[in-house]
């Protein structure tokens, strides 16, 4: 068993087929709830479970569902955000590839809770093979009567469609995702109105991440107290963490919320490759500030991460070793945001470009005394002043890196070179030491 909840049966052969999924109790929650229990009861159980969004923001799921107006004459939509594009994050890909029916069952339950009759799964363009897996699963679920005009034989209609993006990180931002789904360039919209009130086609819409929706069937089947046996009071349940970088066993790990970061890296992932030590860890995808090695005892839950000056984010844990130049690593991340900025607002579009230019200057040994403050200044002018969270995502890691590793930045200006020589490990070296997860 790779994990207590979503990973308890993830490696069961054939789990992607409806027969195997049902043998393990699949679609029991949908059968028990849809057309039987009032939608409000589903929302209440999810609220009581304390489930929080697993896509990055950590917003309480039941609360989000509760924002959908009960009296709106418009149709309601459910959208699954499967755009997984946050650097360092690769959990939704494995979840959908191996257990597509759990996602569908989670969507059926969420659709019943908010009374939506159409659901879309927005996949990043590179996940074409996952679209095929999901389309097969949708056909199977339809044939078995769990989708279509009468879900589980009751008077509730639901259709779920997959929708393939085409390469744009910004489409993971929920309003940009909705723009893209409507056939526009994937640019964010002003909030409010929030999607729950005016989302897809200006109708009430709930957008939930893959992992979030997959937690719904077990919660509704086993109840809120059962779910709360894992995690902390404010961050209940488990979290799937995607670990990458030079560790012995990179991969996805499902752990109870609150597990110390050091335990994840040292025990679950077997520590770092030979001869390396940890310099810093990005705990929640490239959008969050890094943690220096001195803070590795921090718990992997929403509150502890905030207290340590960073965020749990999407759970993409990127381990940075002591042979890696922090300035170079941040330049790499900054180029990502420069490339992915949608161009709608000036602070993000221009700011990411200028930060990238300054990083390049530092790395080339042409940095100026004023460049470190210039980077802070540009970051400050992006943070909180951009149209959507992409700008914040570009600014926060830079500010964090300067805060914790200012000496490395200063070294670049003074000595016109990196403090350490980047020595990317060869795969041969890694294969020799790696133990399959």
């Amino acid at each position: 068993m790779r994990g207590p909840l979503l990973f308890s049966d993830i490696d069961t052969p054939g789990l992607a087929s409806i027969e195997t999924y049902r043998k393990g109790g699949g679609y029991e929650a949908a059968s028990a709830m849809v057309g039987v229990k009032p939608p409000g009861e589903c929302i209440d159980v999810v609220k009581a479970s304390g489930l929080r969004g697993r896509g990055g923001a950590g917003f309480p799921t039941g609360l989000k569902w509760g924002f959908v107006p009960k009296d709106s004459p418009k149709p309601r939509y459910l959208v699954c955000n499967a755009d997984e594009s946050e650097p360092g994050t690769f959990k939704d890909r494995e979840l959908m590839e191996k257990n597509p029916h759990l996602l569908l069952e989670g969507m059926i339950l969420a659709a019943w809770a908010i009374q939506a009759h159409v659901g879309y799964i927005y996949l990043r363009g590179e996940f074409e093979y996952i679209q095929q897996i999901l389309d097969r699963a949708i056909a199977e679920a339809r044939a078995a009567g769990f989708l279509g005009p009468a879900v589980a034989g009751r008077g509730f209609a639901l259709e779920i469609h997959t929708h393939l993006g085409a390469g744009a990180y910004i489409c993971g931002e929920e309003t940009a995702l909705l723009s893209s789904l409507e056939g526009y360039r994937g640019q964010p919209r002003l909030k409010p109105p929030f999607p729950a009130v005016e989302g897809l086609y200006a109708c009430p819409t709930v957008v939930n991440n893959v992992e979030t929706l997959m937690n719904v069937p077990p919660i509704l089947k086993n109840g809120a107290p059962w779910f709360r046996q894992w995690g902390t009071e404010k961050s209940p349940g488990t979290k799937i963490l995607s670990v990458s970088g030079p560790v012995r066993k990179p991969g996805n790990y499902e752990v109870p919320m609150g597990l110390p970061l050091s335990t994840l890296i040292e025990e679950h992932c077997g520590g770092l490759l030979g001869g390396m030590a940890i310099k810093a860890v990005i705990p929640g995808g490239s959008s969050v500030p890094l943690l220096p090695a001195s803070k590795l005892s921090t718990g992997l839950d929403f509150e502890s991460m905030v207290a340590a000056g960073t965020l749990l984010g999407s759970g993409g844990v990127i381990v940075i070793d002591d042979q890696t130049c922090i300035v170079d690593a941040l330049w790499n991340i900054t180029r990502f945001y420069e490339h992915e900025s949608c161009g709608k607002c000036t602070p993000c579009r221009e700011g990411t470009y200028w930060m990238s230019e300054v990083f390049e200057r530092l790395e080339r040994g042409e940095g100026r005394e004023s460049d470190i403050d210039l980077l802070s200044d540009v970051s400050d002018n992006i943070l909180g002043k951009s149209f959507c969270a992409l700008g914040d995502a570009a600014a926060m890691p830079v500010l964090g890196a300067i805060q914790h590793f200012r000496d490395e930045f200063e070294f670049h200006v003074r000595e016109r070179r990196c403090l350490v020589n980047r020595r990317a490990p060869g795969l041969t070296e890694r294969q020799a030491e790696a133990v399959p997860a």
Binding site: F90, E128, L164, G167, S244, I282, N332, A424, G426, L427
Partner: protein, 169 residues
């Protein structure tokens, strides 16, 4: 015209959808309450058919989803995965983002450049390979990684890439 510039409009003969694509198109259009929403799926169908989106296909997509052609052009250019120029038989997309970079992606990319004699965004003269550096592919646990077309290849090194390229027709 720079390597990244593409032209809008077509002087050539109009394209039509092959009969074999009709069912796929109808299915894509039926998934949404309006035709505009089908623009990405219909662009994908065009790319599957022609390997890229030639200007005449852009016009065909515009007619199909009932949008002005410049609007469809604006949408197609916003997303990185639509090929607005022809690509080679095998589209090698090497991740360059942090996790892959930490595990040797830069070296891997340089190896491919040397081996194929082409750089980012270029195609080999025989039309076999197009090489591109791309952003995070959500395969960070198998870094360094690349996609060949839609196929993921992970935990790569120079020898593995050489062996893979040998096998591709």
């Amino acid at each position: 015209m720079s390597a990244d510039t593409v032209a809008i409009g077509s002087e050539g003969p109009a394209l039509e959808w092959p009969e074999a694509r009709r069912a796929e198109l109808d299915q894509a259009l039926a998934r949404y309450p309006n035709r505009r929403s089908a623009v990405l799926p219909v662009l994908w169908i065009a790319q599957r058919e022609w390997g890229w989106i030639p200007p005449a296909a852009m016009q065909l997509v515009a007619r199909t989803v009932e949008l002005p052609e410049p609007e469809v052009f604006g949408i197609a250019t916003f997303y990185t995965m639509f090929n607005l120029r022809p690509v080679g038989r095998h589209h090698l997309q090497v991740c360059r983002t942090l996790s892959c970079s930490l595990m040797g992606a830069d070296r891997l990319f340089r190896h491919l450049e040397r081996k194929l004699g082409i750089g980012h965004g270029e195609t080999t003269p025989d039309g076999r390979f197009t090489l591109r550096r791309v952003e995070c592919l959500a395969a960070c646990g198998g870094a360094p990684c690349m996609q060949v077309g839609f196929d993921y290849h992970e935990n790569l090194d120079e020898a593995k890439v050489d062996a893979l390229l040998e096998k591709l027709p």
